[in-house]
């Protein structure tokens, strides 16, 4: 199913769509308020974008510097060309240490690599410890939003999931009760974990350290209670200097949730006593995206989710309608680079309104990249015959004023005289919920000829 079909299904429950839209719009408004409170916000965005563009243009050097500095501090650095290598590396670290129980904090990269099912197939227990991710995990679903993974679930649904998996008592979906029950359950998991896997928000070349941001404290609970910490990062997470965190951390949480900063911004530079710290640097299609001039800046992304919260289509179609690890506007420019055919409907799931580009803290021109992907998709992916033929013919007609004059008149003739059942048939998606324009007696050309002379 393509995006439009999934979105149509999501729209069958209008009350839920309205809730989803309002919940995310509320986050967008909180973001606006938080950004208004920062003097020089737009300049911060310029700097963040400029730093990311610089890093990408010197990525090899920064990767080497980062590795060297990380190793100096006792961190082991691994390199993975693709998802499969990434998963094997993680599994090998676990196997070498006989680690069977893993707690994981949020990492879109491990979602992208499908790490959980891989590790589970090796007999390893993986528990997602971000509450939203935990909900999605026990529901056997995928996150529908990169910052709010379970935004598609109602509290009643969470309630019954917890009754089933945690043996909670029915609470009509009391969020406090449910959160505290999850806390109790996850506490036990943290304390018995052999290893913790986290993502990486920023990796700093000059220090070899990295920063992980959470509100729940789950990354720290895992990383500091298990003896092994494995941090998985996409190679584009690098920034040159620690001072640059000042710029990125000011932008990240404000853009994501409207908070001035996440509750915890943890700076890892050395493993703790008797502990191991590993970093897995992953390519998995990123260097290919780096080669595409028009789409390169999609690698600036710091995964704040602001483009999702502002996107009027995302808010009304839900994250799962995108059928991609990263949904919403940013996902729609990243995913086609991975599998153009599978994700060919995503760049069309937009009105190109440009709100995403305006909220993006690293100034990715998302809507312009959507437009560019469309041009490639119509060339490289087989298009529905009728759509293609109509649009190609339209091109011919529009380049010929005589043909066009005839075409315009016939459209008006049809709209004016065709019986209603013909115009509003099932084939006419426009007319399902909308009236067609009422047709006047003439067009402007005719009026002008009669009333004005050039």
């Amino acid at each position: 199913m393509n995006h439009a079909q999934k979105a149509e299904i999501f729209n069958k429950d209008e009350a839920k769509v309205n809730w989803h839209d309002k919940a995310l719009w509320y986050v967008r408004e909180k973001r606006d308020t938080a950004a208004h409170g920062v003097k020089g916000w737009e300049h911060l965005r310029d700097l963040a974008s400029g730093i990311k563009a610089h890093v990408l243009s010197n990525l090899d050097e920064y990767l080497i510097t980062f590795e060297k500095n990380a190793q100096k501090n006792g961190i082991t650095v691994h390199w993975a060309s693709n998802a499969e290598e990434h998963n094997k590396i993680v599994n090998k670290i676990l196997a070498d240490n006989n680690a069977k129980k893993v707690v994981k904090s949020k990492s879109m990269l491990t979602e992208e690599c499908h790490l959980n099912p891989y590790l589970e197939s090796k007999g390893i227990e993986v528990v997602d410890t971000d509450l939203g991710e935990y909900i999605v995990q026990i529901a056997k679903e995928t996150p529908s939003h990169i910052v709010l993974p379970a935004i598609h679930k109602t509290k009643e649904e969470v309630d019954s999931l917890f009754q089933e998996h945690l043996g909670t008592t029915p609470s009509n979906g009391n969020p406090e009760y449910l959160t505290h029950e999850a806390r109790k359950h996850l506490r036990a998991k943290f304390l018995e974990a052999d290893a913790a896997i986290t993502g990486v928000n920023f990796a700093i070349a000059e220090t070899g350290g990295f920063v992980v941001c959470t509100n729940e404290g789950n990354a720290d609970m895992g990383a500091h209670s298990a003896k092994i910490h494995i941090a998985c990062m996409g190679m584009e997470k690098l920034i040159p200097k620690e001072a640059h965190l000042g710029i990125f951390l000011r932008l990240l949480a404000r853009s994501a949730t409207g908070q001035p900063i996440t509750t915890y911004s943890s700076h890892f530079n050395k493993p703790g006593p008797e502990s191991q710290m590993h970093i897995v640097i992953v390519d998995n299609g990123r260097t290919e995206q780096l080669s595409r001039e028009d789409f390169r800046s999609s690698l600036h992304c710091i995964r704040c989710g602001a483009c999702m919260n502002t996107c009027p289509i995302y808010r009304r179609s839900g994250g799962h309608s995108y059928d991609a690890t990263i949904p919403g506007p940013i996902g729609s420019i990243l995913s086609p680079g991975k599998d153009l055919t599978k994700h060919s409907s995503l760049p069309f799931a937009s009105t190109l309104c440009g709100s995403c580009s305006n909220v993006c803290p690293v100034k990715i021109n998302i809507h312009e990249q959507l437009y560019k992907w469309r041009q490639l998709i119509t060339k490289d992916v087989k298009q529905p015959f009728i759509k293609k033929t109509i649009l190609k013919m339209t091109g011919k007609v529009l380049s010929n004023p005589k043909l066009y004059g005839f075409g315009g008149r016939s459209v008006r003739f049809i709209l004016k005289y065709a019986p209603r059942f013909l115009v509003y048939s099932k084939l006419n998606a426009w007319g399902k919920a909308r009236e067609l324009p009422k047709i006047k007696n003439g067009n402007f050309d005719q009026w002008y000829k009669e009333k004005r002379k050039n």
Binding site: N11, H36, E42, T351, Y371, R374, S399, P401
Partner: protein
């Protein structure tokens, strides 16, 4: 100053009254307006659908039609945006560059080029302004709610001087209406939902007439309003600026 009047294809065929209002507004302002014959389309529907290459012919026709004018003015932000932004697919001859630089959306032309805000119009209704995305975020006709810039709005500047007109404040000031060209057809469910939500915002804020500087958004909203027989009129801003009620 010779001004070429650009009337987008759908306005020419389906909304001649918008084209007439645009022409009359410009004439009232004493502009030397010409309407070149043989206009087709700026090519936007093709470009937005991924068939930019097939739009080159239409773009060439556009340039041929308008290359001799000092300014090109049209009542549709998205078409003008397409000319300025996406005519990069043509070879950048002096004619193409001139046309791209001198294309203006009607309101922007009146306010920025002519330096006028009060056109002596009167329109005693409660009006809601729909800010088209391509006009707002593309042409920067106003400040965008996402950006931390000082507030301004070209259309509001003009409407503020219309006698009797009460500009109503909306809850979501610049959310997309969901038209999006072929999006309206290929993503029909979302498009309709977005449009209905926009309309509801206008209704909730006691709007009697929805207006805007891009008639494609308005065509979509009007279609939805008329199907539900909602108590709203939909008019292009040129029609309001040309009113003396």
């Amino acid at each position: 100053m010779r001004v070429g009047l650009f009337i987008p294809c759908y306005i020419n065929q389906l909304y001649p009254q918008v084209a007439i209002a645009t022409l009359e507004v410009l004439e009232k302002l004493g502009v030397d307006v010409y309407y070149p014959s043989g206009q087709t389309c700026c090519g936007q529907p093709l470009g937005n659908s991924g068939y930019e290459e097939d739009a080159k012919g239409a773009c060439q026709v556009f340039v041929e039609n308008f290359k001799e004018y000092d300014y090109i003015v049209g009542p549709s932000g998205s078409c003008i945006y397409h000319v300025k932004k996406h005519f990069d697919i043509l070879e950048q001859t002096p004619d193409v560059i001139k046309v791209r630089n001198n294309a203006f959306e009607l309101c922007e032309f009146i306010v920025k080029v002519l330096g006028k805000k009060d056109l002596g119009a009167s329109f005693p209704y409660k009006v809601g302004l729909h800010k088209s995305c391509h006009g707002l975020r593309g042409l920067k006709l106003g400040s965008c709610s996402e950006r931390m810039d000082a507030h301004y709005s070209t259309e509001e500047d003009l409407l503020a001087h219309v006698k009797g007109l009460e500009l109503m404040s909306l809850t979501r000031k610049d959310e997309c209406c969901g038209f999006g060209g072929t999006f309206a057809v290929f993503e029909e469910a979302i498009s309709v939902k977005m449009g209905r939500d926009r309309i509801q915002d206008h209704l909730n804020n006691d709007v009697e007439v929805i207006t805007g500087a891009d008639h494609s958004c308005l065509m979509h909203l009007e279609g939805l309003v008329n199907r539900k027989k909602q108590p709203l009129r939909v008019m292009h801003i040129a029609e309001i600026l040309n009113s003396s009620i």
